[in-house]
Every structure is written in structure tokens, then in C-alpha cells.
């Protein structure tokens, strides 16, 4: 599903070049549950952004869902993000003036799903994420766990194939974080390809494939039944 060959990402900071990604070769199959770990500044988030088409690599080939993303223009990339990719962020990124239902509905609004169908799907999605009674609340009236669940509901309402989570538990306490991880893993069980960037070793160990990055390079690629798989 994902094929990276010799991918580089170089930033210019003043007159210095910063290599966020160096020669990344990576292949990810559909349905994988993958964790991405490493120290700060090792390029984890940059890799995630490249996979999510938010960032373009400076060099190298990047194939996603069988298409070379170098060939896609902005509009086509936006369409891929809309149809196939979901994002979950550490700081949730809910639109503060919109209600829970409206935040969750955003991807369907962008995809021009008719109102009736949209309302139905949002209602079902809120119910599935235990947010039915929070539909008309605004983000500042929600707890941290409810916010992240809203964000995950939003990321998955468009039925993407790939879910990218950047420190999804970073802003949550342990108990709430565990709840959110459970939600993500349930989605993976239903067939979603899940990639999680994290600092938390316990969370990282739950994935069945664990990548370690240092200085823009992948230094470890471990495949073993994770804690999540073992529990099944």
C-alpha cells in the first residue's frame, strides 16, 4: 500500500540544511499496525506528514495506494487525503466554534456528501464513539478523552484506508490515553491501516511492527506480535 524508496526531506534553516529524512526505504502493507518511535527531531513527524501527503519529499519515490504521489498536483493530493487518509493529532485540532457533530461532519462537507446522508452518518459515528450525548457541545465543553474521540471520529468518518496518529495520547492522562488507544486498535481490527507516532514505549510496544528512527534514518524495523495482537 505504501512504498518509499530513497526518500529525503531537507529543510533550509537560514543557510544550513537540515536533513529531516535521509534515504528512507519503507514498505507498508494494508492492515498493518505500525508504531514509529525515536527521539525528538528524529524525523518521525516528517515521515508521517510525507505519508499523509501534507509534506512533499525533497527526493526519492513515494507510492501510495499504487500511485506515485510525485505525479499528483495539489488538487489530486487533497482528494487522496479526503478519500483515503485520516489524521489524528496530539492537540486534537477541533474547530472551537463548531459543535462535536459539526466537527465530525467536516470531512463529509468537504467531500460534498448530501446533507441527509451526512446527518445520518454523523449520528451513527457519534453513537459508535460514545459521543451521542455530546453532539451539540463545543470542544471547550468536552473532556480531553472526548475531544480525542471526536477527532478520531472525524478522521474516520470518510472511511479512509490509512489512519495516521501523531502522539494521539500525548495530551491525555494515562487512563484516558488507554481508552483512546483502545478506540484506535478497534478501528485497526476492523481493517484500517494504523500508523502511530509516539514517545510512549508502552504504546509503541502494542503495535506488531515497530520502527525506530534516529537522525532521519530508520534504524530499527522490528516485526513481532505486539501486545495488542497478543491480547487478541
Amino acid at each position: 500500500m505504501i512504498e518509499l524508496q530513497g526518500v529525503q526531506r531537507v529543510f533550509r534553516v537560514g543557510d544550513q540544511e537540515v536533513h529531516a529524512l535521509r534515504d528512507i526505504d519503507l514498505s507498508i502493507a494494508p492492515g498493518e499496525y505500525l508504531s514509529l518511535m525515536g527521539p525528538s527531531g528524529s524525523g518521525k513527524s516528517t515521515l508521517l506528514n510525507v505519508l499523509g501527503l501534507l509534506d512533499r519529499p525533497t527526493a526519492g519515490r513515494c507510492r501510495l495506494f499504487g500511485r506515485d504521489i510525485g505525479d499528483l498536483d495539489d488538487e489530486a493530493q487533497a482528494r487522496v487525503r479526503r478519500q483515503s487518509i485520516g489524521f489524528v493529532f496530539q492537540s486534537f485540532h477541533l474547530v472551537p466554534r463548531l459543535t462535536t457533530a459539526q466537527n465530525v461532519a467536516l470531512p463529509l462537507v468537504l467531500a460534498e456528501v448530501p446533507r441527509a446522508e451526512r446527518n445520518e452518518r454523523v449520528r451513527a459515528q457519534l453513537a459508535a464513539f460514545g459521543l451521542a450525548d455530546r453532539a451539540e457541545h463545543r470542544p471547550d465543553e468536552l473532556s480531553g478523552g472526548q475531544r480525542q474521540r471526536t477527532a478520531i471520529a472525524r478522521a474516520t468518518i470518510g472511511r479512509p484506508q490509512l489512519l495516521l496518529a501523531d502522539e494521539p495520547t500525548g495530551n491525555l492522562d494515562r487512563k484516558t490515553g488507554a481508552d483512546v488507544v483502545e478506540v484506535l486498535e478497534k478501528l485497526h481490527d476492523e481493517g484500517l491501516t494504523l500508523i502511530v507516532v509516539t514517545h510512549d514505549p508502552d504504546l509503541g510496544r502494542r503495535a506488531h511492527r515497530r520502527l525506530r528512527m534516529v537522525d532521519g534514518r530508520i534504524v530499527g524495523d522490528e516485526r513481532a506480535p505486539g501486545a495488542h495482537d497478543a491480547a487478541r
Binding site: 488538487e75 487533497a78 482528494r79 487525503r81 479526503r82 496530539q90 485540532h93 462537507v109 468537504l110 460534498e112
Partner: protein
Amino acid sequence: MRLAEELAFAAQSLRAARSRTLLILLAMAIGIAGVTLLTWLGESGRRYVTDQFSALGTNLVIVLPGRTETTGGAPPLLGETARDLTLDDALALQRSDAVLRLAPIVAGSIAVTHGSREREAMVLGSTAELLAVRHLELGSGTFLPAGDPRRGGAECVLGQTLRHELFGNAPALGEWVRLADRRFRVTGVLASAGRSLGTDLDEMVVIPVAAAQALFDTEGLFRVLVEATDRDSVARATADCERILRDRHDGELDVTVITQEAVLSTFDGILRALTYAIAGIAAISLLVAGILIMNVMVIAVSQRRAEVGLLKALGAAAPTIRTLFLWESLLLALLGAGGGLVLAEVASRVAAAFVPELTAGTPGWAAAAAFGVALAIGVGFGTAPAVRAARLDPVAALARR
């Protein structure tokens, strides 16, 4: 994204920043109301003046001594007039069948006394025809007697104000007044006519033209007012006047013949230009409102960087982001313009209720123009911030500050 969704999204953003939105709407409304009201005032003024002119009769042809060439040279100043325009010249114009009636005029200023009271007044020497030609109305008594205009009688007709100043509440008809060293009997008093074209008829005294010529010791007329038989014969009357006077002046055309309509259209043009100038000055406030809209949109974009990043991550392409922000500035401009029009309409109706000379209600084209301008402002000042939002790098926009 569908149009309805875009509008709803933009409207919700504006509602979220309520006080900021209201202030910008107020600024825009004041700008639009200002331009509309000033244009309306100018229009009202123009209509008032042209109505005043039309009241004098559009069949009027005015003959002035001296020639004002329309090409080259300075306008003739004092002393350049080759020949006087005489009373006989004026009477000769009667030969044209396009001329219904005419009134020669000699004008001057002189002290009018009655008993111990003395007033400096405008003296108009003319004939009985003046009453009809200038659409004057008598308050009481009779106007100048008809008859040979070359014979100057000793009758005079006073304006309302002058009558009051000289006689107070005492009756004036049949009394004698003194103009310089001559005595005139008051035969009539004009009805109050108010100001007409800068000359206050109420402060004038009208005497026979020959008497005025003697009083000011002049052969020359100030002008001749000629009334054409109807509107269609104005051009023919003009041509006849020029032909007759050229013949009488040894083939030289040394008079100027202007029509009431020409004067009217000149005034009309001047007042129209003035209206546009005033509106143009008021339009500066619209420029300010536009810059305020731009400012508020720039702030909105920088405050909502994360939201823009999120929308991009959710699959919104740059044009969608641009449209969303453009709608916000357009809504601000259009709603503000709507408010401004309502404000102007109400203000103009209230003002017209107190000042009857003003036409009630703003002109219809003002509404169309206001919305056109609002559209231009919304797009013109909203594009730069919207483009800036659309260009934001999603990774940087999403990164925590």
C-alpha cells in the same frame, strides 16, 4: 464544497467573532450610508435648481449685449461691447412669428425713499409683458400699464419686502416713492415669490423701461427676455433674434442669444459634476472600510492557522480555503452595505420630512451601486488574505505554537 455549505461555514466564522464582525459591519454601513446620503443630497439639490429653472419657462430665450465667442479669446469684459442693445432692437424682435412676447430689461441699483425711510433697492426697468414672461404674480394693484414702451410713465411696482420696509403696515397703493430725483406712484405690489436664481424679487422695484433708461441715463438694455411661442420654436426664435439684430447692427452679430434650456443643461451638468465629486470624497470612507475588512481578515487568517492546516489535512484543496475566506469578507461587505442602505433610506426620509425641498428616499440606482461597490470591496480587499490562507503550509500551520 457546496455553495450553501461554504456560506454557512463563513457565516459561522463571522458569528464566532461577534463583536469584531459587528464593528466591521458598522464601519461598512457608515461608509455606504455616507456615500448614498451625500449623493442623494446632491441629487436633491440638482433637482431643486433645475425645477426652479423650469418654473421660469423652458421657452425662454435671453438676448445679451456683447458677443461671447465659444472659441478662443477671453470673455468680453466691460467696454468691449461694440454697440448697445437698444429698446428699438428689442421691439424689432417682435417681428419674428416665433416670438410670443418679450420684455426688455434695464437693471440698476438705486436708493428708494418714502418719507423718512430709505432703502437701497434693485431697479428693474421693463414693460407690462415682464409679468407674463417671468411668470410673476401680483399681490395687489396693477402691474405696469401696457402701451408704448418708449414713453416712460411714473408707475412702479414694489416687491413684498421692499413694500414692507418702506410702508410698514400702512397701505402702499397710490402712494408716491422717490427713486433718486424722480417720483413714482405705486400701482401694484408683487406677491411674495421668494428667491429665484439669486435675485430676490421681493426686494425689487419695477418701473417702465424708458423711465429706467432716463434714471440711469443709458440707451443700452441689460438684456431682453424673449418667450418663444412654444417649446419647438425656441430654436427658430433664437435664429430669428440673431438674424434681426445682425441686420440692425450693420451685419455684425454683437449680441449673445442663449436659451433657457442651454442655461438649464449647463447648471444641470455643473450640479451633476458636483454630486459626483461629493460622492467621490465620501467614497474615501469606503476605502477605509475596505482596509478595515482586509485588516480583520488578515487577523482572522493568522488566528486560524491551525484550522486552515486542519482543513487541508481533511482534504480541502487551496481553492476551497481561498473561497471560504473570500466568502467571509464578501459577507462582511454585503451585509454592511445592506445595513448602510437601510440607514441612508431612513435618514433621507426623516430629513425630507423636515425639509420639503428634498426628495424623500434615496435613488434606486444607489442601492445597485452600493452592492456593486460592496462586491468590489469584498473581493478586492478579501483576496489577499484569502490567498494567504490558501497558501499556508499545512505542516507549519498545524505545528503547535
